[in-house]
Symmetry: C2
Subunit: 331 residues, 2 copies
Amino acid sequence: MREIRLASRPSGWPTADNFDLVELPTPEPGPGQVLVRNRFMSVDPYMRGRMNDVESYVAPFQVGKPLDGAAIGEVIASDVAEVPVGATVLHGLGWRDHAVVDAGHVRVVDPAAAPTPSAYLGLLGMTGLTAYVGLLDIAQFREGDTVFVSGAAGAVGSVVGQIAKLRGAKRVIGSAGSAEKVRYLVDELGFDAAFNYKDAPVREQLRAAAPDGIDVYFDNVGGDHLEAAITSLNKFGRVALCGAIAQYNDTAPPAAPRNLALAIGKELTLRGFIVGNHSKRMPDFVAEVGGWLRAGQISAQETVVEGLENAPEAFLGLMRGENTGKMVIKL
Amino acid sequence: MREIRLASRPSGWPTADNFDLVELPTPEPGPGQVLVRNRFMSVDPYMRGRMNDVESYVAPFQVGKPLDGAAIGEVIASDVAEVPVGATVLHGLGWRDHAVVDAGHVRVVDPAAAPTPSAYLGLLGMTGLTAYVGLLDIAQFREGDTVFVSGAAGAVGSVVGQIAKLRGAKRVIGSAGSAEKVRYLVDELGFDAAFNYKDAPVREQLRAAAPDGIDVYFDNVGGDHLEAAITSLNKFGRVALCGAIAQYNDTAPPAAPRNLALAIGKELTLRGFIVGNHSKRMPDFVAEVGGWLRAGQISAQETVVEGLENAPEAFLGLMRGENTGKMVIKL
């Protein structure tokens, strides 16, 4: 088997030197464990934070040890009746082509219920749940709201925009980093407006796209996007703080919203969240989003990169915004 | 009668030149109006924002027109049965010694129910309600929370800290701008800890005063206080954004919390509010805080300045933090 280890901690942008690809004998599962042949693994922006030696909501990766993260695969050895050989399972030991996992730490899923097994890493997985919880519970989205989402062509952002439309938003606006992505948002996902944040200041482009202001901002980016959103937010506006990819590789203190005091008079709410504490919403999410998926009402576009050896470069591309929709590695 | 008008709009810190004291014949009330001899008027930090020509949650003051704000006085002419001569009334036409007010815009209060009529401008008025709503509803204070309040010796802050103690806070920490205020907070108001923010960085002093972190931050100040609080906030911490006096006189964009992205992993909630939209809580507030006042459990210290002509200088002193507790002008 092969696995990718953290060779060293990056300062600022990671490079290929921070990762090591290692070959090992394929391990044997012990009692109560299963051996999984991983088919897809997830790369996610939050993994950048885990490369730092900083205690956060997930433990940092350890130098010399394999990285981990969401993966889906097929059980190839098991003596656990509930997780038999042949089962498709979701688990947390990505960044390797084979994994020995405690049977209690896998979730058996039905591969026939998804267009591709990798959907369990994206639209039907934590990514989709993040969008669902962030929009509906954290930002308290209501029918008729005007919604702005940054990183809108990304894994979470693309689902946020689609859920907002399906749930009756008045207007959905997205920002992304290329003309192609902007077209994708409007032509394929049905956003009402979208702009390339590299073309002109976010504040100006957002004001033009939302002349009557916005009610909800779903923040995947931080920085100037958050500041622009605070300016455009209407009275009693709500912000779901989900990510700040613009600053994950910063070494200096990041730009901060200089206009945060506007939150007083506008009576805004800004609320940070991580999806891990919201798994109780999984049944609602699966029912609603799964239904939209079966009805062909929601798109689950993915950017698929082949080969474990290409995972570090794919992860760096994700940080640079090279993906459209969820980025997964096919193993 | 005399009134104070806005002579010109300040840029940065106001000066005496921005105010005009004008003498006029005392006006006659029309039908449905009453003439009030004002006894006390309020000066409040939010008035600084109204001196700018910026539409906010309250309309800006107009150059050449009198300022306004909360006042309490005695009705000296009236043909309205519900608001007879002799009644003590609370209304919105301060910054003058006599006021003609529509009877529908006054609230008759019982002067015997308060230690001094000016308490209706402070502890028993909008100031107290701001503290009550901000702590309990906006910051969702819960028994056992550790609470940090900035501007803690001020009108709102001193009430926030006392309510938190009375409602069962684990620990209440305040910041203020002098050694004397720090002593007042600890010795007279029962704060568990307090510090002078001019002595050392807020972040360091807060960490020392709250080694186990804080659960609630009531922000009257903004700037470095907000940034320090974000660093010290525990998981699921809550911030009531009430004021940002540190930056009201800034002409450059203010310092912003560079660490706002911590709100994601800590799942913080920051919520701005203004008291005007929370008057439905007035009965609960009056019952609870009035009860504490009658029982001698809550202090309503005031800084009283005599004379309408001294109101502009008192207002400037308020912006410099020269008051302890609520600042009122005795007319």
